[in-house]
């Protein structure tokens, strides 16, 4: 078992990148690997609750599904706060910032969460950005 980390920079629906992230995660989970995803910049929007795309692959459902299979998904706290996702101070016990807008499977956490991912990874894939 190895560890794959995906850095997702792109928002859902405006590009294929979030869908690629979910599909890569699924393929890695199928092979028994550990999967981490860090949502960074506009990538944090991939975790918004209540997505109802018409005729697009539903990213919210994709992220929920891979989380249920054991993928760890974090969203950058600084980027999330800037975009209106953070409801309060860091919850030490839960190790997350509270959010009513982010799906529960995703923890809003500092960039050091990504550094921890880096330290345990065998490979990193960056997806998205302009």
């Amino acid at each position: 078992m190895k560890t794959l980390t995906i850095l997702l920079l792109g928002a859902p629906y405006s590009s294929q990148y979030p869908e690629f992230a979910v599909k890569l995660a699924e393929a890695a989970l199928d092979k028994g690997h550990k999967v981490n995803i860090f949502l960074y910049g506009d990538g944090v929007h991939a975790g918004m609750k209540g997505q109802t795309p018409k005729a697009f692959y539903n990213i919210e459902e994709g992220l929920r599904a891979i989380s249920k299979r054991g993928a760890t998904v974090l969203a950058c706290s600084r980027c999330s706060a800037a975009r209106g996702y953070v409801d309060g101070e860091f919850d030490d016990a839960a190790q997350r910032y509270p959010s009513s807008k982010m799906i529960d499977e995703i923890r809003i956490f500092s960039l050091y969460g990504f550094v921890d991912f880096i330290r345990e990874s065998d490979k990193i894939i960056t997806l998205g950005g302009v």
Binding site: C79, L111, V115
Partner: protein, 124 residues
């Protein structure tokens, strides 16, 4: 047995300020350096523009922290910054226009840097 620090290469391909990707990349570099990783930053394509010195009053003008300061912080923390000469020359970015402490490298050397230090890579 002491573990050698993991090597991370952060490749910056976006110009400063207009889009957050350059910042985002430098934050990753700094956070990783502060946690003991061996970090190399490569400025490639439009990323070479981040190296131009004299970036003034970014907080006052753009409400953004200074990328020039981020570069300096990375150097002070022991990170290495290489600049792709081809990207720089196309754009008219000369070494004398840039922050000190950067290494301007031809593509062959950049390929070697990736091979030697790109155990893990992120591209922003």
């Amino acid at each position: 047995m002491s573990e050698l620090p993991k090597k991370l290469l952060v490749m910056i391909i976006h110009p400063p300020y207009g889009h957050e990707n350059a910042f985002a990349g430098f934050f990753v570099a700094m956070a990783s350096l502060s946690k003991g990783l061996d970090v190399t930053v490569a400025l490639n394509c439009d990323g070479v523009f981040t190296a131009v010195m004299g970036q003034k009053d970014t907080e006052a003008l753009l409400h953004l922290p200074s990328i020039e300061k981020q570069l300096q912080d990375i150097i002070d923390l022991g990170g290495r910054i290489v600049v792709d000469i081809d990207s720089a020359e196309r754009r008219g970015v000369r070494p004398e226009d840039c922050v000190e402490g950067l290494e301007f490298v031809p593509q062959e050397e950049l390929a070697k840097v990736i091979n030697d230090f790109g155990e893990l890579m992120v591209t922003l």
